[in-house]
Amino acid sequence: MLLEADIHAYLFLSFSLFAVGVYGLLSRKSVIRMLFAVEMIINAANINFVIFSAQRNVDGEIFTFFTIGLAALEAAVGLAIVIVFYKRFGEVIPSKIKNLRW
């Protein structure tokens, strides 16, 4: 059973992780680094699951396993897209590729 004050500390950790992830997502140029940032955002959510499960005495932490599995899938699909991306355009920097806009 976690105390109220401890909750705030853990939530701050999770928020920091989320903020760093968002910052990384927006500021990195390479697609691979953006995938790293996405992992950090997902893990911020995982921390929240764990914290609230501990506090409310429910078995919510089980969802972190699903999320970790999901993140692994996402990394696999994402990296596959990155490889196709690289083959097609010769680089992995999305800012330089604007073919979606005429």
Binding site: V22, S95, K98, L100, R101
Partner: protein, 609 residues
């Protein structure tokens, strides 16, 4: 009896269609025989109506259609005035149809010509027989339409097509006012029947101001139709049509419609004090026309000016209160002006369409009969005693003298005596002197052309013998004013003018060339020649007032307000699109940024709202 009246109107319309079909599907000139038979039957029916009129007017009317509370009547009212007008229209129309056989001999489409001509006569007969203003207006437009079609008969000539359009637009301008007058009369007085309107006027059932408004509006229509100041330039341009058309429509019948309408509503005009306006417009028009005829050089345009002058004299006669004088002059003028125009047509036809009088000369050697007939027409036109023109013109002058307005009398007197000057000037120039190249190959007109001329010439001599009977038939007992001193003065001035013209244009003792070389003489001549530049004035008003300001203003509103609203909507959405498309950069990072910003915004809204 009324069935015969309706038949008289209908037979011309039926005949016109029949003559077109006959000419179209068989030999083209067969349409001539249909037209002659139709014209003759119509004339005989008119005579029959005239002879059986002794027991009062023929009145018949029925409801034509109805809308709302207004029942539109149609009916006939045939009295002696109407029947005289119908006799003029059918009689001269018949002679004109016969004459056209010779005049139009080279024409390609006589069936079209006779169709339009019979349609015209039918409309004219209908115009004089109907009993109310709406019926009059319909036939009024019918004769206007035929006038337009026949002026532009040689439609491939640009001048003829333009003249037709001008005549149509200019008379239509007057007709708009006339229509307004009819509507005002109908709404405010509750009737459009001539006899009821006159009865209301005699009883004094409405205010003089209202009557004046209606009268003036109707009179503007008459001004347009009868070619009075300022709506007369179309009549001069109308001379582009065949000469037979000018003789029938633009001298003898259609242009009289305005005079007829004023005569028909004479008590109404009298009660409304509108006759003084009629007299002034008439006097001014007569003066413009008489001086214009003195300066012009084309045969037909001199005669057109003369027609305008005589119509103006009729208006003056009506305006000074002597309807009998005006209508008697109308009848005489129709006869001698048809004679003059048809004789001029013979001259023009036999000299291969030379219209300029000064390019002709010496024609009396080549066409003596035409020359004598033309001379009879000129004598009647000038008002020389034994001929019919003298009696009616002198009557009008006496009536004007009695009326006592010096301006009207002066203008009328001068224009009346000027007839002899321009008439003999034309005759001397065309028929005497050395033959020119154009007139050397001329020969006498065909019998088919000469016979109608002889009939008309005989009429000009015979009418005075039956003057008393005609006047009695038309108006009952009428007091005819007589002033010996005025008569002597008129004849003296006419004799002096004849002497001057005789010396200049026959003896050639003096020449007008020197006068025309002088800038002042040149200027005055041009001023008169062009009808006081009224035509140019109308054009200026059209260009600067109607086109320059009103049409330009409407155009501005159309472009800037109407089109502006439509184009503005398009331009607004285009501008929105142009700004919105800027956020679609195609860069994934930017889209992510918008997404994150959106999420933050939603979060803030959830937290604080």
């Amino acid at each position: 009896m009324e069935k015969i009246v309706y038949l008289t109107i209908a037979i011309f319309f039926l005949g016109s269609i029949l003559s077109f079909l006959v000419g179209k599907f068989t030999e083209r000139w067969n349409s001539f025989w249909v037209a002659v038979v139709t014209g003759l039957i119509g004339f005989l029916l008119s005579c029959y109506i005239a002879l059986n009129l002794h027991d009062g007017a023929i009145v018949h009317s029925f409801e034509w259609f109805r809308f709302g509370n207004y029942s539109v009547p149609f009916g006939i009212y045939v009295d002696s005035l109407a029947v005289i007008m119908a006799l003029i229209a059918t009689g001269i129309g018949f002679l004109d149809i016969v004459f056209s056989k010779g005049y139009m001999e080279e024409d390609e489409s006589p069936h079209r010509y006779y169709f339009e001509k019979l349609f015209f006569i039918g409309s004219m007969v209908g115009l004089v027989f109907v009993s109310n203003l709406v019926g009059l207006y319909i036939f009024w437009e019918g004769v206007g339409l035929c006038s337009y079609l026949l002026i532009g008969y040689w439609y491939w000539k640009k001048s003829a097509a333009e003249a037709a359009l001008k005549a149509f637009v200019m008379t239509r301008f007057g007709d708009v006012f006339m229509l307004a007058g009819i509507i005002v009369a109908w709404v405010l007085l509750g009737t459009i029947n001539f006899q009821e309107l006159n009865a209301l006027a005699v009883a004094g059932a409405f205010s003089v101001k209202l009557g004046l408004v209606i009268s003036i509006l109707l009179f503007i229509g008459a001004v347009g139709k009868s070619a009075q100041f300022p709506l007369f330039p179309w009549l001069l341009d109308a001379m582009e049509g065949p000469t037979t058309v000018s003789a029938l429509i633009h001298a003898a019948t259609m242009v009289n419609a305005g005079v007829y309408m004023v005569a028909r509503l004479f008590p109404f005009f009298d009660y409304s004090h509108a006759l003084i306006v009629v007299a002034f417009v008439g006097a001014l028009s007569a003066f413009i026309a008489a001086t214009g005829a003195l300066a012009h050089t084309e045969i037909k345009k001199i005669l057109a000016f003369s027609t305008m002058e005589h119509l103006a004299l009729m208006f003056v006669g009506l305006g000074v209160g002597s309807a009998a004088a005006g209508i008697f002059h109308l009848m005489n003028h129709a006869i001698f002006k048809a004679l003059l125009f048809l004789a001029a047509g013979a001259v023009i036809h036999m000299t291969h369409h030379t219209k300029d009088a000064f390019k002709l000369g010496g024609l009396i050697r080549f066409m003596p009969q035409t020359a004598v007939l033309f001379l009879i027409g000129i004598l009647a036109l000038a008002g020389v005693p034994p001929f019919n023109g003298f009696f009616s013109k002198d009557w009008i002058l006496s009536a004007v003298y009695d009326y006592g307005n010096p301006v009207i009398f002066g203008l009328t007197f001068v224009s009346a005596v000027l007839c002899i000057a321009y008439g003999f000037r034309l005759w001397f120039v065309v028929f005497t002197g050395e033959p020119s190249e154009n007139s050397k190959h001329a020969r006498e007109a065909y019998p088919v052309m000469l016979i109608p001329l002889y009939v008309l010439a005989a009429m000009t001599v015979l009418i005075p013998f039956f003057k008393e009977q005609i006047i009695h038939f038309l108006f009952g007992e009428v007091h005819e004013p007589f002033h010996l001193n005025l008569l002597v003065a008129t004849l003296t001035v006419m004799f002096v003018l004849f002497g001057i013209v005789f010396l200049i244009y026959y003896k050639r003792v003096a020449s007008t060339v020197k006068l025309l070389m002088h800038p002042l003489g040149r200027g005055i001549n041009d001023f008169l020649f062009n009808g006081w530049y009224v035509d140019a004035g109308i054009k200026w008003i059209c260009r600067n007032v109607f086109y320059g300001s009103i049409a330009k203003a409407v155009e501005w509103i159309d472009i800037n307000v109407v089109d502006g609203a439509v184009n503005g909507t398009a331009r607004l959405s285009l501008a929105c699109w142009d700004r919105c498309r800027k956020i679609q950069t195609g860069d994934v990072i930017d889209y992510l940024t918008y997404f994150v910003a959106g999420v933050i915004a939603v979060a803030l809204i959830i937290l604080f709202v």
